[in-house]
């Protein structure tokens, strides 16, 4: 009898506990508080060659911050393949980090969710003001005319990396400055199992970065001025075709690159299989792959003709990482302090040096480290000839839809199928139809 009663009580208690835990999910509509002023959670993006390397770079800085302010920062380095999903999940559940890194191209999309703290003038004042940052980096922090959703942290740009020895062997004396020269150089090198240029045909984001720049050079944007998708304009079709043709028609990209998505093109480059890659801040990665700094050279990414500049002479996207504060944070003051710390002149120098990127903070750029062979070209590109990807809420969907279209076109090219203006246009039209109808 007693045991039955005990079991019954146990059952009821457990049911109540379950019911309580089911309800206690936490509110998702809070507006930030200062309930836990001594602790912060930080999701960092993976900037170095591995998550472990990033932890080693960041931890000493976080310790420094703790010593200064008494706030302990719990670090998690999130791999790129998971980061956006993790942020979306955190947004939906309201259970997320206090501070996080985002790819700067996601700024407008994430801004639309309302999950990130807007950086109005008051918030910017807390970290030293908006004019500490370079304009091009600020151009990729959210929809124009709205308070930025994030603050620039690291800036990167595309450049043409080339293998000096392979160039010398083929009798190439200077790196190509235009696409015609690049194709010509590539054709000289592409034989006997060696190839001119590397590509990541199955990496959707990388495809987008490349065709966005080519689009600019053809005078095309992938969105209209009022933010509607416009993928099938003549310029856009020509841009995509030109990129895929590097494999299909010019045959300077190895067909196998069509299935690359995990930086295999970089390891091909480091192994001396391909002579050139178009990449952002690759120097640190080359080093971890065993390539010495004097084995490779770097030049501005090619343009159609002339020299890099604005408009149709754009030769890079404004690549980079922004730092954002999650609106639901329970330590909004601490989070702002942490952003101030990470964007301070001293930390900017340390971190950007470690990652081979360029500081988006003006005062930090003067450091000699950002004027070397590897970083000088990137800094110059960012300052003069880089353009921000469309700052529209549908940017993420654009990356997926059009990135997939380019991936499929590469697959066609690799299989030896012809890539025509019509087939490119059809794929882009299909991508456009998948975009949200509004």
């Amino acid at each position: 009898m007693r045991s039955i009663r005990a079991a019954a009580i146990g059952a009821v208690t457990m049911s109540l506990a379950l019911a309580a835990s089911a309800c206690g999910g936490g509110s998702s509509t809070g507006g930030g508080s200062n309930d836990s002023p001594k602790e912060l959670t930080y999701w960092a993006s993976n900037q170095g060659a591995s998550v472990e390397i990033d932890k080693k770079v960041l931890q000493p800085e976080l310790d420094k911050f703790e010593k200064e302010t008494g706030i302990k920062v719990k670090l998690e380095v999130v791999p790129w393949s998971d980061l956006l999903n993790r942020i979306l999940t955190a947004t939906t559940s309201g259970q997320g980090p206090d501070v996080l890194n985002i790819g700067n191209t996601w700024s407008a999309s994430l801004q639309a969710t309302g999950a990130l703290l807007p950086w109005d003038a008051k918030n910017f004042d807390k970290i030293g003001g908006k004019d500490r940052f370079v304009d091009s980096a600020l151009g990729s922090t959210g929809v124009e005319g709205q308070d930025p959703a994030a603050v620039p942290l690291y800036s990167m740009a595309y450049a043409l990396y080339y293998n000096k020895q392979m160039f010398a062997d083929a009798g190439v004396t200077k790196p190509p400055a235009t696409w015609d020269e690049l194709v010509e150089t590539g054709k000289k090198i592409s034989k006997d199992g060696k190839w001119g240029l590397g590509a990541e045909g199955s990496n959707l984001s990388n495809n987008i970065h490349q065709i966005f720049v080519l689009g600019k050079q053809h005078g095309a944007d992938f969105f209209t001025a009022d933010g509607k998708p416009d993928f099938t304009s003549d310029g856009a079709v020509a841009a995509v075709k030109q990129y895929v043709d590097l494999m299909a028609k010019d045959k300077v990209i190895a067909p196998g690159n069509a299935e690359y998505a995990q930086n295999q093109s970089l390891s091909d480059f480091a192994k001396g299989k391909t002579a050139m890659v178009l990449w952002q801040t690759a120097s640190a990665t080359f080093k971890t792959m065993g390539m010495k700094d004097d084995q490779w050279g770097v030049a501005p990414a090619p343009v159609a003709s002339g020299t890099p500049g604005t408009g149709e002479s754009t030769n890079s996207m404004v690549a980079g990482i922004n730092m954002a504060v999650f609106k639901n944070t329970d330590n909004v003051d601490g989070a702002t302090k942490f952003v101030k710390f990470m964007t301070s002149d001293a930390e900017q120098k340390i971190l950007n040096k470690a990652y081979g990127s360029i500081p988006p903070v003006k005062a930090a750029q003067s450091d000699a480290a950002f004027n070397t062979q590897a970083t000088g070209v990137l800094r110059e590109t960012l300052a003069t000839s880089a353009a921000a990807l469309p700052q529209v809420p549908d940017e993420s969907q654009f990356e997926t839809a059009v990135g997939t279209a380019v991936k499929e076109l590469f697959a066609d090219a690799a299989a030896g199928r012809e890539v025509t203006t019509e087939s490119v246009k059809a794929k882009l039209a299909k991508a456009q139809q998948q975009m949200p109808a509004k």
């Binding site: 079991a7 045909g201 499929e408």
Partner: protein, 334 residues
């Protein structure tokens, strides 16, 4: 239990003098409620867990399918506007791109499931029958056969992804470099061949389960049946056809259903093999729904597609169970 001073009647019931039933009734009723209620009370935690883990998310998913749940509303999705049947209309409008892609994905999944389940069952059954007689090394072989089933899915599939690589993959090395079967190395992870790659991995991963279940089923067939059959002059083939397969019918019914549900819903294999954007030829429905919701941030449409998938699987399972049980009843009557 309850003690009472009233004398007990011959049938064991207490008999009151002045108040027939008035004082005892409620007490007895509470006793009965207690007796009947206790099992339910003990079931309550399990019931609540079931609600929490299975039913609540399902209901939320169904609710979501009636909302316009895009990035503008995910932060507080109770504010997302109701769209009535718009998400469903969009999903099944096969003349528009979204519906057309879903239909294509559905057909690919059907073909894939049919082939995969068929092959898994066939290979598993053949292997189990071959392993029925004792011979040296049978235990070892059985263990080896089960390895694909025991391996963690991710580790196994990522290994396949490496083997299917165009430039350095083992598959191309064997087919092209060593056997010279193809003119040039084939692409397995992009383009049309991806369907074959997916099928190979799925069958490799799934047949050991069929093998395991059929092997267990074979143990229950009495040896005497085979002895009698061979006395009557039945050959091996006839024994398999007239004894083994009919005896395995109840096992097969469950096996095929389970394999069907697993294969149709399989997400891990295509996701690890192809990443977020599967090639059109291998665009399985689960990965298609994932892309329609997570990658394009339209969770309403994704949910609507999931609900449609759920309905389809419910109908198929229902019809299958109805048909097989009717058949079983009929054969039992005969």
């Amino acid at each position: 239990m309850t003690t009472t001073t009233a004398p007990a009647g011959p049938d064991g019931r207490t008999v009151g003098k002045n108040s027939p039933g008035a004082a005892r009734g409620p007490r007895r009723r509470t006793g009965r409620i207690r007796r009947i209620g206790l099992p339910y009370l003990l079931l309550l935690p399990a019931l609540l867990l079931e609600l929490l883990v299975h039913l609540v998310p399902m209901v939320i998913g169904i609710v979501m399918s009636f909302k316009e749940l895009t990035q503008f509303y995910i932060r507080d999705w109770t504010t997302a506007p109701w769209t009535a049947l718009d998400n469903y209309r969009m999903s099944v409008d096969f003349s528009a791109p979204v519906g057309e892609a879903l239909l294509h994905s559905f057909l690919v999944t059907c073909a894939f499931t049919l082939l995969s389940v068929g092959l898994c069952w066939f290979i598993g059954t053949v292997a189990a029958i071959c392993m029925q007689d004792t011979f040296r090394g049978r235990g070892l072989l059985r263990a080896v056969f089960l390895v694909p089933y025991a391996l963690p899915v991710y580790a196994a599939v990522i290994t396949w992804a490496f083997m299917f690589q165009h430039d350095n993959g083992l598959v191309n090395h064997v087919l092209h470099d060593q056997l010279g079967l193809t003119d040039k190395p084939s692409f397995w992870l992009i383009g049309d061949n991806s369907f074959i790659a997916l099928l190979v991995v799925s069958v490799w991963k799934g047949w050991p389960f069929a093998f395991l279940i059929v092997m267990a089923g074979l143990q229950n067939i009495p040896k005497e049946l085979y002895e009698a059959a061979s006395l009557d002059g039945a050959g091996v083939w006839q024994q398999i056809r007239r004894i083994t397969l009919p005896s395995l019918r109840p096992v097969n019914q469950v096996l095929v259903l389970v394999l069907f549900l697993w294969t149709f819903n399989d997400f891990n294999t295509p996701y690890v093999l192809f990443g977020k954007a599967a090639p059109e030829a291998a665009d399985l429905i689960s990965i298609h729904i994932y892309q329609s919701s997570f990658v394009t941030w339209n969770f309403g449409t994704g949910s609507a597609m999931s609900v449609l998938l759920l309905l389809f699987l419910l109908v198929v399972t229902g019809v299958y169970l109805f048909l097989t049980s009717r058949e079983r009843r009929r054969s039992a009557r005969v």
